[in-house]
Structure formats: C-alpha cells, structure tokens
Amino acid sequence: MELGPIWRALMRNKTSYVLIALQIAVTMAIMVNAIGIVQERSQQMARPSGVDEENIFYLSSVVFDPDVDREALISEDLDAIRNFPGVRNAILSNTVPLRGGGWSEGITLEPDPDLESTGVAIYFTDEHGIDTFGVDLIAGRNFEPTEVDWHDFDSDAWPPLAIVTRAMAEELFPDTPLNDVPGKTVYIHDTKPVTIIGITARMQAAWNSWSGVERSMLVPVKRATSGVRYVIRAEAGYRDEIMPQIEEMLASSSGDRIVRNMKTMEETRQRSYLEDSSMVKLLLFIVTVLTSITGLGIVGLASFSVARRTKQIGTRRALGATRPAILRYFMLENFVISTVGVIGGAIIAIGINMWMIEAFGLQRIAWYLIPAAMVTLWLVGQLAVYGPARRATMVSPALATRSV
C-alpha cells in the first residue's frame, strides 16, 4: 500500500484532484438531499386512503330544472344504480378521499364557542356509506336507515350522530380505549351535540397535505342539491365495464340533466399525488444524470492524468512494479480523492439539508443516506477510474529508457 506517497503527491499537485473531489462532494450533496425527498414523498404516497380504491368510481349529475322533486330523483337514481348488474353499492356523497375539494368542520369537546376546535373532514352519506366506501368499522355500529335525513343545500341543521375515524377518536379522546368511544358526545357549530356511534379504521380526507388528513367523519345526511355526486363501488373486476353504462343510464334516465366528471378512485389518487410522483421521477432522473456526468468526468480526468504520467508509469514498471501494482496504485489514488470528496460531500449535504428545511420546510434526511451515498460514490469513482487504470498497466517498462 502506498498511501503515504500517494497522499503526499496529491497534496503537492492539488488542482485537478481538487476538481474531482469537489465534483464528488457536490454530487453527493445533491444525491443525498434528492433521495431524501424521494423517500419522504414516497412515504406520503404510500399512505392508504382507507377506501376500496380499486373498485370505486364517482360522477356528478346536474339537474337544472328548478321544479323537479330532487329527493325523489336522487332516490330513483340510487335505486337504479344499486340494482345495476356489477354494482356492489352506491351512495350520494359530497366528495371522496384525495379529491382535493371537500367540506370541513371544527369539533369541540364542550359546547363552548371559545374552545379551540379540532378540524375534521365531513362525508355526507347514508347507511350504505360504509359498504360503498369499503372502510372497516372497528368499533360501535353503522347508521340505521331511519337515522338518515334529507337536508336542503343551505340548511344549517346537523344530525346528532356521526361515525369518526380512529385517528379522530384518538385525537379527541387520547386516554380512552377505542371501544369506549362510541357513545361519547362532541359538539359541532359550537353548541350542536353529536354522538359518536361508530369508529372506522381509516378514511382520509380530501386534502393529502393537510395535517389532519386522517381525521374524517361520516354524517347521516343526504343533501338534495341540484348538482349531486354519486359514489359507486363496483363488484370486483366490473368497474371499467359498467362505468360508461352507468353514465349512459343516468344521462338518459330523466331529461334535462348533465352527467359529467366521472372518475375512478385510482385516477383521483394519481391526480392527488401528481406533483409528488412527478417530483420523485424528476429527482431520480436528475440523480442518475448527475452521477453519470460525474462518472464520465472522472473517467476523462483520470484518462488525462494517466496519459500525462506515462513516463512515470514506465519508470515504476522498470523499477519492479507489476501490472496489478500499477492498477492498485491508480485505484487507490482515486479512492483517496473520492474519500476527500465524500467527506466534503457529507458536510455540504447536511448543510444543504438544513437550508432546505429552513427554506422549504422539508424533512431531515434519514441518517443512513449519507453512508449509502458515500459507498455509491466510492463505487462510481472506482468504476470510472478502472478503465484508465487498466490502460496504465499496459504501459511498457521499456518506456523508461526511451529518450523522448
């Protein structure tokens, strides 16, 4: 091992080696932070919404005849849909998870308007809601059909019952075991009491970046608005087939209505996380291109460095260096440079991460990313230098005696 002389030689002729080390350092800084963001976003995107994403789709129906009996029409629609072959269940609701638009309210533990409230997403539904959304009821019970009311769109009445998610229950009653929460009463609109009768495992709100995304509440109300949304759960495998059929059926069922904005839950999830998934792809692309550029840069500089020292290589061979010894020399030299680079890179990476946390509210990167990046760049460096190093071994010892 010729560590000492290699180090001393590098120190004497710093410039081109500093360039490589700097490139490695900055590359590492970018790599670490980019992968950190990729990790963070991927974790976000992996969160389940709690509903049956494979089979749910929804559509809007707008009836603009002001004289139509909306309640009757909606009831007819729901019957027709529920009885349609291939449909498992359907409800009238205001929104679905991850849609980006929805309804939220504040809930308090006491009927005191000065108390700070806990935000919760509202899903209007009826007794078919749990089965249509495909959420798991883990405590308490579902609504009875008699407990579901019709409301006009501007009514300020509020039903006295609700089913909340586990996250909401834990937020409101952190010290109460889950099975004891059904039966407790909370307050909405400052003074209206609402008794929790059931708890679902999980049902996300419509806004994926909201801190309270896991807090939602099913409310037994059917709102007879002119524009309504039907949420439909198909039997497994039937979704794509029945979607256009249902659309057609509704559009032609009673005149003067527009059926539009039909979407699947899968599309909704995709759209909801579009920016995150695109960012992930973009960052992975950047990291790949960057690593290639740095790798190629090392190949270039190493080739040049070897070509510049052919006389020296020949001399070393003459003095007794074997071919493997020459290879080891250049691989080791590159390793030393890479080491300086990755140490610098670790420092810069942490610095940049701190700045990004400050400026963009990103998360701190997982600690193991740094050693992982170090190893990656060591490997890239060694791979890059291998070609030029092998060429170095082919330099003939007879070069030492050539007079030019």
């Binding site: 410039t15 081109s16 360039l19 490589i20 700097l22 490139q23 900055v26 590359t27 800084a29 970018i30 932070n33 980019a34 963001i37 707008v62 603009f64 005849d65 002001p66 504040g106 000065d114 700070e116 501007d154 009514s155 300020d156 009445a157 909405i188 609109h189 400052d190 209206k192 524009g227 003067d256 527009i258 539009r260 995709q270 759209r271 579009l274 920016e275 695109s278 960012m279 792809k281 973009l282 960052l283 692309f285 950047i286 291109v289 960057l290 550029i293 740095t294 840069g297 270039g300 500089l301 040049f304 510049r308 940049i352 700045w355 990004m356 400026a359 963009f360 509210g361 990103l362 030019v404």
Partner: protein, 416 residues
Amino acid sequence: MVAAIAVGIGAYMTIINVDYVMSSNPIPHRSDVLFHVEVDSWQPNKAYYEPDHPPEQVTYMDGIALLEAGKARRQVLSYKTGRVLEPQGEGERPFELESRSTSADFFAMFDTPFVYGGGWDKSADDNEEYVVVISKEINERLFGGENSVGQTLVMNGDPYRVSGVMDTWQPMPKFYDVNNGPFEEVEEVFLPLSVAIANEFGSYGNTSCWKAPEGGWEGRLASECIWLQFWVELHSENERQEYLAFLEAYVETQKAVGRFPRPTNNRLNNVMEWMEYQEVVAEDVGVLKGLSLLFLVVCLLNTIGLLLAKVTRQVGDISLRRALGASRRDVFSQYIVEAGVIGLAGGLLGVAMTWLGLQGIKSLYGELEFISRLVAMDWPVIFAAIVLAIIAALAAALYPTWKASGVHPASQLKAL
C-alpha cells in the same frame, strides 16, 4: 466541454423557466394600481392562518359594504359560480359553464380585452339586468364567432343579453382569484353580482366559515363565511393611505356592533405582493431551483477540469508560441475567446436541452391543465440561457487560462 455546459444550463434553465412563468407579473401595466383587500373578520382565538394572516376572502356583508361605499377609484367584488348553458338549437345538449359573478368594474380594472362590445355599467348592476360577457370560445360555439352583442342566450332557464365577447385572456397566474387555483383558466361567462345574489347562485369556489351560518341563502349572506374576492384600484400613495384609513374606520363600525373580534389587521397588497404572499410558486420549484443550480455547478467543475486538461496537453504548443513572440496577453485572450465560443455553443445547445427539459416536465405533469403555459419558452429565457452559458464558460476558463498564460516561453521546448 460544450456538452457539459449544455446539460447544466439545460437543467437549470428548465426550472428557471417554470419559476419565471409561475412568478411572472400577470398584468404588468396595472399591477401596482390594483390592490387586494383583506380585513380580519376571523374568529377570536385563532388566526385564519398562523401567525397572524387575515382571511383571504371577504364575507358578503363586508364585501357589499365596501363595494357600495365606493371609496376607491374603482372597486370590484366577485366570486366563482357555475351555470348551465342551454343552447336553443335542436338536439343540442346543455353544458356547464365556469362562471364568474362580478360587479361592473371588473372589466375596466383588469383591462380585459374585448372582441366585440364590452362589459356592463353600474346601472345594469343596480337594476339587476340579465346581461353577460362571454368568452371567444363560447361565442364560436353558440354564434359561429359573429358579433353577438345584443343576442340572447339561456342559462338555467333564464335569458341573458350578450353585452360583449371577451378576447383570449389568460393572466398567468390567475391573480384575481388565487384561492381557487392560481393557474386555472379564466371563466367562460361573466354575469352581474347583483343577479347572482338575487337568484341565490351558490359559490363554486372555496367557502370557509368560523361560525356556523344561519339557514338559507339569507343566513349565508349574513354570515361570517368568506367566499368573495374584493379588489380596489388606487393610483397613488396618497390614495392608498386614504383607503387604509377608510378601512380602519369601517372595521371600527363593525367592532361596535360586535363583529371583528380580532385586532384590526387590514391589508392592501398590490398584485405582485399578493402573489408572493400567497406563495403561488410551488415549493417544489424552489427545491428544484436549488438542486439544479448545484447540478450546474457540477457541470462547471467538469468543464474546468476538461479545460485544465486541454491547457496542460497544449503546454508545449503554448511554450513554442511564446518563444516565437506571443505575449502573455495573446495567450490569455486566445483561450478566453475560445472559452467564449464554447460558452456560446454550449448556450445554444443548452437552449435545445431546456426545450427538451420542458417537454419532459410537460409529460410528467401533463395532467395539470395549466402546464402548457408553464413550459412555453419565452425569448427572455432563451436569451438568459445563452448569456448564462457564456458567463459560466468564461468563469470556468479563468483558472485554466491564467495557468496557460503563465507558461514560460521555451520552457517545454526540450521535451518537444
């Protein structure tokens, strides 16, 4: 070398383009006379948005009061709604329209371009006239693109008279209603606020209430729910101060009747201030800006290395040239000029790379409707890319060129 610069410039300028469009001034000739008004009607124990931001929209009570007070040069109150257009032709199906109900000053204040006709006046507002301004596309669809001023169209069963056809207008971002999507398309139909209110057209935008409204439309109008946007036009610092004073007085009157429980917190933001405040430019863009700048740095380090290698390879050449009479400055300028040319070539190739990058962005984010506007490359961006490339190349060349000019004449001749 050219490739290294081109890739770095390409990556950086792609993001810069997106950032530039996202943060561009949507209405440069009027952006500092238009002001978004915010008053803090929010709940007593918690700000609308920490730490102390007032709500981004106004309640109907406040909006209509400020509108009717008329204390600014011009003012406009509006909100997003939806209508169903019923074409009168045979077999034509009705379709929904993104609509905006607004007071009359909208068109003058925001200087919207018209193909035919224009907006309506204050008397139309006062008389609740059923009048509309339609988009060019709707005009094409309903009237074959002809001058339809005075014609009638039916929305949700009511006939409206066309007072004007708006030309293509897509302020980027859609500053006048940032809450509901800063890059969304402009509405297709505009109708008077008074008509919408009288006929109870619900809001299609965001509505937030800290206090539950009483029932019915009346309850909504009298509630603390915020769902409208209010802008004023003020032409001087004087006018601005006067308006602020007026706002303060107004808030006092409201406090006197028990509203506005929070400390007075009136804001007047001009267009650019409002957008900055709204953080219209996505955070991801900022992150990408930082990372792509570092990417460019790596490409530049690469370039410096390549240039250094080139100079070292040519040491014999330089030495000979110096021996034959070239001065230090001759050598220096030769390499600097070379670097400039490389920069130019890199810049041109970099523009191509930027275009490629933007296409990539488009395919990634394609589902976002406004994306094609974000990826349109403008002349300033092209120009900036080339200039940046040349500057970068020159900067990268400084050290190697300095080394080159330091080569002693004939120092390498023995080795030749």
